[in-house]
Amino acid sequence: MLLEVRDLRIAYGDIEAVHGVSFSVEEGELVSIIGANGAGKSSILNAIMGLVPSRSGSIRFKTAEISRIAAHERARAGIRMVPERARVFPRLTVRENLRVGLYGICDRAREKKQLEWLYSLFPILAERSGQNAATLSGGEQQQLAIARALISDPCLLLVDEVSMGLMPKLVDEVFKVLQELNRQKGLTILLVEQNALASLEISKRSYVLETGRIQFEGESRVLKDDPRVREAYLGL
């Protein structure tokens, strides 16, 4: 098991946002956590990355307990994240944003190879490599955020609401890239999404989260036709 989360609780002050969630991701899997707004999806990813503290529970990554170590150590252990709303560094150039992703593991030859690969994956980034990230459009920023997370060859990629605010066509493209990364490079991805059907389509297994709890889980192709998914979203 690459990632195993047991009974994770997350609270902001007095307010508990996630009430004891357990799930796991195997090496090479693409797993999604879906649910409507405010279900606590982003909190879970942030807790795995170490950006918000977990109140209790365990997070095991490659057999090591990581729930008490700092975010940068988790990053060095091989977890990388595409944050909600991209959060690129606005006053760094595209190229510099990518280099931040290589912080601490940089060697020139590898940097060049990785850049070439990412630029072929997202040609628009090559075009804009000298521009400040703030000048990119929302979709381009998302691509940059993905590239920035990929550049270090992570073992586990956390993707947070990548479809939010993107045009439907772009959503399709981004999801296709993620699917290819998973299929062809064997990259393990944990996806958190509001866009249920698109993520069910590309993922192997899914967890459905509702108000801080996992309501049910299963094979994505089965869940796709499960009326309970619609119910969780549309309140039938």
Binding site: S199, T211, L234
Partner: protein, 255 residues
Amino acid sequence: MDEPLLSLREISMHFGGLKALDRVSFDLHEGEILGLIGPNGAGKTTCFNTVSGVYRPTSGEIRFRGKRTDGLPPHRMAALGIGRTFQIVRPFPNLTVLENVIVASGLSCYGRLIPSCRSWKGRKTREEALEILARVGLEIQAGQKAGLLPLGNLRRLELARALALKPHLLLLDESFSGLRHEEIAQQEELVRKTRESGISILLIEHNMRVAMGLCDRLVVLDHGRKLAEGKPEAIRNNPEVIRAYLGKGGSANAS
């Protein structure tokens, strides 16, 4: 139904190049609970903020009780009779629960010099505020610092504060999010009672179960545009709405 209580006509709101709202129009009638729903980033909160006076819309007009109100600052909106709650609760943390409510009951004093110098510690003010707190079930906590309350109580406190304005229209911004099951039921009950007391309600809600159960009509926004408007039944079976919520391919499952 003659003139609507609140009407939005072709409201657009642009931030830089981003069109957060694109010519949105709808009406809210006296005594109605109208729900504003849509996926993340659809423009619901922006829409709310133009109604409550936080933003001045780029174009279009808003009328409340027949009077043009777009561009008025929030405190003027409050004076006209629009109360609101916040998605991320904003209590006055270092004031007591009771004082939080009393702030709202000073509405008629803030605009004028002499009344604003009078004391707010009178018995009448206090009793009125306590009565409103009793209505939402917070009278026991009246003396506590608001910052120490758990979320469920804070949501009710926000409702109490809005009610203390004696509004004609109440704007509820995700008043149910983060609540536990039983709290949601209580809050729903409160909203219903509020409407029965003659206050019209416009609400944003993510929890579809709640929105469908509570609202008379729904307006669905997606990418800043109005996607649909109608009774919950119709909205629930509208394929476009389902697609907006579940993502692509959603229409295939709509039956």
